[in-house]
């Protein structure tokens, strides 16, 4: 892709303000983009940058399927307007593995079968990575509580909590 990309979609015809330039670092690569003021980070990722790992489960900030990391904080990408993130660094599920090595949380999710249909998984994983960085969770109960914004309709919670716990203990953040 070129350095600057404009929204290829036709105008919305409503006379609203045009695209706004922003600079974002996405999975380690700086991107100069022009985005409509109402474009969410999730739509930007999925529809323009072909980063379809982050899922749209509700588009209302209520399911967590779209969770990504913005400057290491977990956010719901569907509730975050891309223009607000000028200068920020965004990490999606596609950016977690390094040099062909899965992130420890990704490894733990595989090891613990922490998914069924997989649709919530990218969000769960980003949320878990954020949670571990926050260093707030100490017990299983706290993991459950602090991951409660990430719904899993398949009910894979037992294994999700076990996977997070394993990484937490492995990194010395455990009790």
């Amino acid at each position: 892709m070129q350095a600057t990309e404009t929204d290829p979609r036709p105008g919305n015809g409503t006379g609203e303000p045009g695209p706004i330039p922003v600079v974002l670092t996405i999975n380690g690569t700086e991107r100069r983009l022009e985005v409509e003021p109402w474009t969410t980070l999730l739509d930007l990722l999925r529809e323009r940058l072909d980063l379809t790992g982050s899922k749209k489960g509700c588009d209302h900030g209520q399911c967590g399927a779209c969770t990504v990391l913005v400057d290491d904080r977990r956010v719901n990408a569907c509730l975050t307007l891309a223009v607000m993130l000028d200068g920020a660094s965004v990490t999606t599920v596609e950016g977690l593995a390094q040099d062909g090595q899965l992130h420890p949380v990704q490894d733990a999710f595989v090891e613990h079968d922490a998914f069924q249909c997989g649709y919530c998984t990218p969000g769960q994983i980003c949320s878990a990575v954020g949670l571990l960085k926050e260093g707030r969770a100490r017990s299983d109960d706290e993991i459950r509580e602090l991951m409660s914004g990430n719904l899993c309709r398949c009910g894979a919670y037992v294994n999700i909590v076990a996977a997070v716990r394993q990484v937490m203990d492995g990194t010395g953040a455990g009790r």
């Binding site: 379809t52 599920v93 490894d107 595989v110 079968d113 398949c154 037992v158």
Partner: protein, 776 residues
């Protein structure tokens, strides 16, 4: 050299690595084809009305709109019903529910399509609407004919019983809330062809419905589904409409069309689990043993037939759960309401029927002042003649007494019940309760002809294998299980077996992946295909190398020919050179099953799956808030094909059942609009709703008595009903909160509000009794 063991290994899900890296593609993640348009629908603002005027000119003129579609524009039939042709893709002339699709648009972006549909001008003339089940009952609005099952003479027997109870209760529906909403991507091909990627449990039916709507032969439509982000029954028939609208728009515009439902639209447009009202009359002896029982089940079907007939039937098939009824009559009514057409949901009516009898048993126990577990045990099926179901099938594989013994011990039920009663005496506000309930669930489609499956296996000359079958993957682990079965049969590592998407052009005329039967049937079909291929290769190798056929052994990646050994790759190459066919199909039809619906008599199920759960609940008697403190599950999966996957199904099924019975409440306004149409108003379980102490075990002695694939048992649906123990534990806590005043009145789901009402109602009974005493 040892045999390669793929079956029974706890292999991870086949797409595990794709899932954790975000590379697993769902329909919405596929690269959009050039010129792809996006669809949206305009939805009815009335529950039941005649459309007097519909002006879509502003919609058509809106920016980005390429086509507007109404029911009148369908080249074929505007009908998406799976069984009866009673459900239009787009309503014409009148609307039957609030939120029904009335017209559709295709526009250059999703956003523009969604904006455009808001510009329609529609005038309605309201017609009388029945929104709730009670409305339909009051108006006698039957959607389908009532149905009855009966054995013996329940009225006469009940008259002779020492004890008698009657009652009625309600249980709510459930939204699937598959995390991936409904979606289809349709692309027109040459000469009337249509290729559809759909998130569906039933590609064949989507194919048929799309062909019907386009007025084309089935052969011109190809439907593919690699995976779904959850299905739970919600994509058994509900994917039809989505694909049909996308395909007709694609035909109309000549361009690919993607139709993805926004969450709110998904929840208002698509069907849910049926809510029920259950009435009962029961006669029983001193021990609580049922002598005669009658059930009246009323199911809210919604506005069209969909699968309601079969679902209501299955509710009747499970009105006995695990218990023998000497005399029984079950009457079922399927009511029509002006609400979205209710549909399949994990358990398919079974959970509703089962909750009915568990309620009755609990009422009997409370009436007699006995431990509900003792009453449950007293009523279990047993040796003949106590082994006959209300539909005259003999229960031949009843392992529940063993499972319940084991769970009673391992959960410490008796000691904990005593401890809870003691604890409650010292706790004024918080009260605890406990319950242990069994599950017996019939496996097979009760629509007998659906019990068939096909598979296709192709061996390439490099020794790799392509596997295809009619089953769809929605997270339940079907694909990895079938892969394991084929790997074991051909004795090659799973890595050499490429799993491919369900595709109507590869394996035709498939049944839906439903009724928990996916692995039973597709696994058997794939096994048959693998065996055919193996036989061909064996015959060839035996001849070529001059060894008897029984000396040709497939083992751990190699083929042993007496002294000689070769790889599958070498054998495949040689067989190909010798012009031996290297692809094979397999087919399976479930044996033994038959059912005479007119007589309500037969063997609709190949076998039963069993399980039991013990739950402990705590309630706050001031707020009604409740939670499950501990859950012990013991479930029979036969010989597990993959214990990791099976365990996930047990846990996940239970959690989903817990949601159904505790927090998930569907709420319709009196105008018939669904008020709970987003996660903000509809609460599915999250991580923190899990029981603090959650102990899940696969029953180790499990083994299918029938010749199922590797003696395994189906596991998709049965565990959902383990959550009935949670509901009964909450009810027990309410009863213990106000002791000695009879049984609480609690409808499902046990939301905090309902729990609080139930507590207060019991307290009211106390007050009334005290007043009566004072007056004496």
């Amino acid at each position: 050299m040892t045999r390669l063991q793929a079956v029974a290994a706890p292999l991870p899900h086949d797409s595990a690595e794709l899932h954790v890296t975000g590379r697993a593609r769902y329909v919405d993640d596929l690269p959009e084809p050039q010129g792809c348009l996006h669809a949206a629908v305009g939805q009815s603002a009335r529950a039941h009305a005649r459309i007097v005027r519909m002006d879509l000119s502003r919609v058509a003129a809106a920016p980005g709109v390429v086509a507007v579609l109404t029911g009148a524009d369908f080249p074929g039939l505007n009908q998406i019903g799976p069984v009866l042709l009673d459900e239009p893709a787009l309503a014409q002339h009148s609307v039957d529910y609030h939120g029904q699709a009335v017209f559709a648009v295709a526009a250059t972006s999703y956003e523009l399509a969604r904006r455009a549909v808001t510009l329609a001008e529609i005038d309605y003339e309201d017609l009388p609407a029945a929104i709730h089940l009670e409305d339909a009952l009051a108006e006698n609005l039957d959607l389908l004919l009532p149905y009855e099952m009966r054995r013996g003479d329940p009225d006469a027997a009940m008259a002779r019983s020492a004890h008698f109870l009657e009652g009625s209760f309600r249980l709510g529906g459930q939204d699937h809330f598959y995390l991936e909403g409904q979606i289809a991507l349709a692309a027109p091909g040459e000469d009337g062809g249509m290729d559809v990627h759909a998130s569906t449990q039933h590609p064949t039916e989507v194919q048929h419905v799309v062909a019907r709507c386009l007025g084309e032969i089935d052969a011109k439509v190809r439907v593919e589904c690699r995976r779904m982000g959850g299905g739970f029954g919600g994509k058994e028939t509900q994917a039809n409409q989505i694909a049909a609208i996308a395909a007709v728009l694609a035909r109309k515009t000549g361009r690919p069309v993607k139709f993805r439902l926004d969450r709110d639209v998904d929840m208002t447009l698509t069907g849910k689990r049926h809510d029920f009202r259950i009435d009962y009359r029961v006669g029983f002896d001193e021990d609580g043993r049922i002598e005669a029982i009658t059930f009246g089940q009323a199911a809210r079907g919604g506005c069209s037939a969909d699968l309601t007939g079969a679902i209501a039937d299955r509710a009747m098939f499970h009105a006995d759960n695990a218990y023998f009824f000497p005399h029984v009559r079950i009457r079922s009514r399927r009511l029509k309401t002006h609400t979205v057409s209710n549909t399949a949901f994990r358990g398919f009516g079974g959970p509703q029927g089962m909750l009915g009898i568990e309620e009755v048993i609990d009422e009997i126990a409370r009436h007699l002042g006995r431990d509900p577990l003792d009453v449950r045990r007293a009523n279990l099926y047993g040796p003949a003649p106590r082994n006959l179901t209300p539909y005259h099938m003999e229960v031949e594989d009843f392992v529940l007494p063993e499972i319940m013994d084991e769970l009673e011990q391992s959960s410490g039920y008796r000691e904990r019940r005593a401890a809870i009663e003691a604890w409650n005496r010292t706790s004024p506000v918080l009260k605890r309760g406990i319950a242990l309930t069994p599950v017996k669930f019939g496996i097979s489609f009760t629509t007998s002809h659906l019990n068939q499956a096909g598979a296709l296996i192709q061996l390439y000359t490099d020794g790799s294998v392509l596997l295809n079958h009619g089953g769809t993957e929605m997270g339940q682990g079907l694909y990895v299980k079938v892969q394991q079965i084929v790997a074991e049969e051909l004795q090659i590592p799973t890595g050499l077996i490429r799993i491919t998407a369900a595709d109507t052009s590869k394996v035709p005329n498939t049944s839906p992946t439903a009724a928990s039967s996916g692995t039973d049937m597709n696994g058997m079909a794939a096994l048959a295909a693998a065996r055919t291929l193996k036989e061909r290769l064996t015959t060839f190798a035996a001849e070529k190398y001059g060894v008897p056929a029984h000396k040709v052994v497939f083992q751990d990646g190699a083929i042993l020919l007496g002294e000689h050994r070769m790889s599958l790759r070498e054998l495949a190459k040689e067989a190909w050179m010798a012009r031996v066919q290297l692809s094979a199909t397999g087919y399976y039809a479930t044996p033994k099953i038959h059912y005479d619906r007119d007589q309500a008599h037969g063997r609709p199920f190949y076998y039963f799956a069993y399980g039991a759960a013990c739950c402990e609940a705590v309630i706050d008697t001031l707020t009604g808030e409740n939670r499950i403190l501990r859950a012990d599950l013991l479930h029979d999966v036969g010989r597990s094909l993959n214990p990791a996957i099976d365990r996930g199904q047990i846990e996940g099924g239970f959690v989903q059942g817990l949601g159904w019975l505790t927090t998930e409440e569907l709420w319709w306004t009196k105008e018939g609009a669904l008020a709970s149409h987003a996660p903000s108003t509809y609460k599915i379980p999250c991580a923190s709703d899990l029981p603090r102490d959650f102990r899940v075990a696969i029953w180790e002695r499990g083994r299918n008595q029938e010749r199922s694939v590797h003696r395994s048992k189906a596991v998709g649906e049965p565990p959902l009903m383990l959550a009935i123990a949670a509901f009964q534990a909450i009810k027990d806590a309410i009863a213990q909160a106000v002791p000695g005043r009879g049984s609480p009145r609690l409808d499902a789901p046990a939301t905090p509000e309902r729990v609080l009402f139930a507590v207060n109602e019991l307290r009211g009974r106390t007050a009334a009794l005290d007043l009566a005493r004072a007056a004496e």
